[in-house]
């Protein structure tokens, strides 16, 4: 019997077990998000067992029906499918396929006895077995199941966590387990970025990211944490990070160190940085923070820059004069000062941040001012303005020949051989953001995790207003271009844009974007609600590869409209959406300027029992203007019927 048949047999057995409820469900486990191996620290009563073993598992079946309209065809390209017009086929292509996947999480927790009853030891893993993959899937063909089926492989480990925990010490080894950043610890320069999208990293690259080990020691000397691993940040190389936090009088002091191997750099080249920060509350309603960064990256390194001059003095008839210089010690320094004051006479809250980064430590000077004001009893207006400029502007591409027939470069935008760059984070910008929030019950905050992010996942499920909404207007003006940027390619590796590109183009005038997120409560007891999400305005592609390409596929800017209505009523979730000229669903679609002319979607899902869940999802893409024909985003109709069965069991020993 081959592996595929074994998996089907297991699947059938599983469904049978589910029907007879042989295993007792553990609702606490089911409530945990499926993508994170839980590392929750809990304590037990004296009578509770010392060792708790847990298993919870999903059997997921999918039936996928797809239709490609006449005049189009698809070709397999690695994991994705490329669409192209094919006028020789005057009929639509229909296909149906089925797939099965098992996901199992196993964990063992050992709890202490006596006065210290906390969780002492944890081992947890998430495993996946794939029976069959529906090869006709078009809406998200880049995924781990597809990759495994191409390799004729059936099993994968999604995550692994081994953790030892004491009052003064915790240590862990992790693989495919997300981590937060250290901003709450005072890392104002964000040396240690958060990595939470672990499912996405695995789905796109096939690797478990982040991977590494961590030690955290706490005592009278403060709080010390060390993390090291082969890939702590997706697409980056080997790295190590350290943090030390201590309280000195009324000041929270912190020191950070980062050492990252540069995968695109010269052999053995590392990017090292050290930061110290101080945070204090001079009075009850104000907060002050200061951070100093030292990042000695490629010091005494040659670089070029240009200035605009009159034609007679310029280089080869362009409007630029080229200069050469070297980076110096002072270019390694950076400073951030933050100040916040609440309950001022006119404004409710004011906060301001000034950032200066030398050439090697970030190449920018930025000031940001935020004002928050209560307009009426239920209305709140949050305004934020940011002005940013790089210390050295990006290099233009100066080349032989003409725009239509270009020759070799005299000068290209800065890339992998340079000590600093201008990219999306430090390009010259004027940014204005206005957020109007209507919440008649401010005691239950509108946003759950982060303020000012208007996404459904950020809505507070405890919000008890019958109607609440947030409206955001953003104006962005980028008067200058950028240098080259890095991106993670289709194999999950970090690479540079080619030197034949021109970076992100400047904008002539501010571009506008509007977002609306509204919630209508239908019944407070079961959190039944309707959620309306609207997005409209102009949106820029994020990579220079989408700007001024020789091929008519890439769209550097799109005027998009996206409307989505979703809701929840008891055990039923439903939603419909319509998008016009929207970016494709993957991160790289916006990077490469790939849009969908018309996108329609509808889904309904039902929790049929404590063990089972059904979902029907319909997706339709249409090409309307026959311009910007993105390779991966051709027209299709797709209907996916998903059925999930889950079981969980917990066993206490000793």
């Amino acid at each position: 019997m081959n592996t595929d048949k074994w998996i089907r047999l297991i699947f059938c057995s599983f469904v049978t077990c589910s029907s007879f409820q042989i295993w007792q469900p553990c609702t606490e486990i089911l409530a945990q998000p499926s993508y994170v191996v839980s590392s929750k620290t809990t304590s037990l009563d004296q009578s509770d067992p010392s060792l708790v073993l847990t298993i919870d598992t999903w059997a997921i079946g999918k039936s996928v029906y797809t239709q490609i309209p006449k005049g189009w065809r698809t070709d397999d390209e690695f994991l994705t499918k490329y669409f192209s017009p094919d006028f020789s086929r005057p009929f639509s292509l229909n296909e149906t396929a089925h797939g099965q996947t098992f996901v199992t999480r196993l964990s063992g927790r050992y709890y202490g006895r006596g006065p210290d009853k906390r969780e002492k030891f944890l081992i947890a893993t998430k495993l996946k077995a794939i029976g069959k993959y529906p090869l006709n899937l078009l809406s998200q063909p880049v995924n781990d199941e597809h990759r495994l089926s191409q390799r004729n492989d059936h099993f994968t480990v999604d995550s692994l966590l081994v953790k030892y925990n004491r009052a003064w010490l915790s240590a862990s080894i992790f693989s495919g387990v997300g981590h937060t950043d250290w901003r709450d610890w005072g890392d104002l320069f964000d040396l240690f970025p958060e990595q939470f999208d672990v499912d996405n990293y695995k789905r796109v690259s096939g690797r478990r990211v982040p991977r590494g080990a961590e030690v955290n020691v706490r005592g009278a000397f403060g709080d010390l944490q060390l993390i090291a691993g082969p890939e702590l940040v997706w697409g980056n190389g080997k790295s190590a990070f350290a943090r030390w936090n201590v309280r000195l009088g009324g000041i929270d002091a912190a020191a950070f160190y980062a050492d990252e191997e540069i995968v695109w750099g010269r052999e053995g080249e590392h990017l090292r940085a050290a930061e110290i920060s101080f945070r204090a509350r001079p009075e009850k309603l104000s907060r002050l923070a200061l951070a100093v960064l030292y990042r000695p990256f490629r010091l005494n390194w040659p670089y070029t820059f240009v200035e605009e001059v009159q034609r007679g003095q310029s280089f080869q008839g362009t409007k630029y004069k080229i200069y050469h210089a070297r980076t110096r010690q002072k270019d390694a320094l950076g400073v951030i000062v933050e100040f916040e004051r609440a309950r001022l006479p006119f404004f409710f809250n004011v906060h301001t941040t000034y950032t200066y980064c030398g050439l090697a430590s970030g190449n920018k000077s930025e000031i940001s001012i935020g004002l928050e004001k209560m307009l009426a009893r239920s209305f709140n207006l949050d305004t934020e303005f940011t002005y940013r400029t790089p210390l050295k502007e990006p290099n233009p591409r100066i080349f032989e020949g003409t725009v239509d027939n270009s020759g070799p470069n005299f000068l290209s935008p800065r890339g992998p051989d340079d000590p600093f760059w201008v990219n999306a984070d430090n390009r010259k910008a004027y940014l204005l953001s206005l957020i109007l929030l209507y919440d008649p019950t401010p005691a239950t905050r509108f946003n759950k995790y982060r303020p000012n992010i208007l996404e459904e996942w950020n809505l507070n499920p405890l919000e008890n207003a019958s109607f609440a909404f947030a409206l955001r207007y953003t104006a962005s003006h980028f008067p200058t271009a950028t240098d080259l940027q890095t991106y993670v390619n289709e194999f999950g590796n970090r690479v540079w844009e080619p030197s034949s590109t021109f970076g992100l183009w400047p904008t002539r005038r501010p571009i506008h974007f509007f977002e609306f997120l509204g919630r209508i409560g239908l019944s407070k007891r079961q959190n039944n609600c309707l959620i309306l999400k609207l997005k409209a305005g102009q949106s820029l592609a994020t990579s220079g590869l989408a700007y001024g390409s020789n091929t008519p596929r890439e769209k550097p800017i799109t005027g998009l409209t996206d409307i989505a209505l979703s809701g929840k009523w008891k055990a039923v979730n439903f939603g419909v959406e319509f998008g016009r000229s929207v970016w494709g669903p993957e991160e790289w679609h916006r990077r490469f300027g790939a849009t969908i002319d018309r996108r329609y979607g509808a889904q309904v899902s039902i929790q049929t029992s404590r063990h089972s869940y059904l979902e029907l999802r319909y997706t339709r893409y249409r090409e309307v203007d026959n311009k910007y024909l993105a390779l991966e985003l051709g027209p299709f109709d797709e209907m996916i019927f998903t059925y999930k069965f889950y079981l969980a069991a917990q066993k206490g020993l000793f």
Binding site: G317, Y320, I398, G401, S499, H512, A536, Y547, T551, G559
Partner: protein
């Protein structure tokens, strides 16, 4: 309630306004700023990295071949990066007779047909020069061509680093799609050969 209706009306108006703008007009094309209009008659196609602005494609398919554009040759560390292209002699798209790599104007084979060709005749180039080393198996030869694909240099035996060149007339470069092409050819009686490995560096178009 009136305030709420007003805010929603304003929001919908703003949405509508945002959708009406023609987006491309919001961008400024920086390309003409860096245009010199001149041709110096020298183009370093590959020094330490590919400088064509295009990409590469393996032909007739990508099987049983490897290419590294940043290979550090152990015997020539002073040379920096070199191109290393290798074929193991096995099947490539149903045949065993040849395989190759082409450094194209297009960024990949998907865009090969829709990328405009380059007119390099304005550069006045008359030759392409390069340095190469080849480790060839029995009955396998290596050929270097481009940008005129009908003119090339062929070697039938292994050789160490050698300076090579091909010559052509500038008017032959009016519609260039390939800057440089490296190909292996198997001429043996057996079904397949052992292939070979070639290292190439310092590719230049010159007058």
């Amino acid at each position: 309630m009136r305030l709420l209706a007003m805010i929603i009306s304003v929001a919908l108006t703003l949405f509508w306004c945002g959708c009406q703008t023609t987006p491309l007009e919001s961008l400024r094309d920086p390309r003409p700023d860096g245009t010199t209009g001149i041709w110096t008659g020298q183009w370093l196609i590959y020094g330490d990295k590919l400088e064509t602005g295009g990409g590469l494609l393996l032909f007739p398919g990508a099987e049983n071949q490897t290419i590294d554009l940043a290979f550090r040759h152990p015997n020539k560390p002073e040379r920096g990066n070199v191109i290393r292209y290798s074929w193991n002699g096995q099947e490539v798209t149903g045949q065993y007779a040849f395989s190759g790599v082409s450094f194209t104007v297009a960024s990949n084979w998907r865009t090969y047909d829709i990328t405009p060709s380059k007119d390099l005749s304005q550069g006045g180039y008359r030759k392409v020069t390069f340095k190469a080393k080849a480790d060839l198996s029995e009955n396998t030869s290596v050929r270097f061509e481009g940008p005129v694909t009908s003119i090339g240099v062929e070697r039938r035996r292994s050789f160490d680093w050698d300076s090579l060149a091909t010559s052509f007339e500038p008017h032959m470069l009016r519609t260039v799609r390939e800057f440089f092409v490296i190909s292996f050819h198997y001429n043996g009686n057996d079904k397949s050969g052992q292939g070979g490995t070639v290292y190439v560096d310092d590719i230049r178009l010159e007058r």
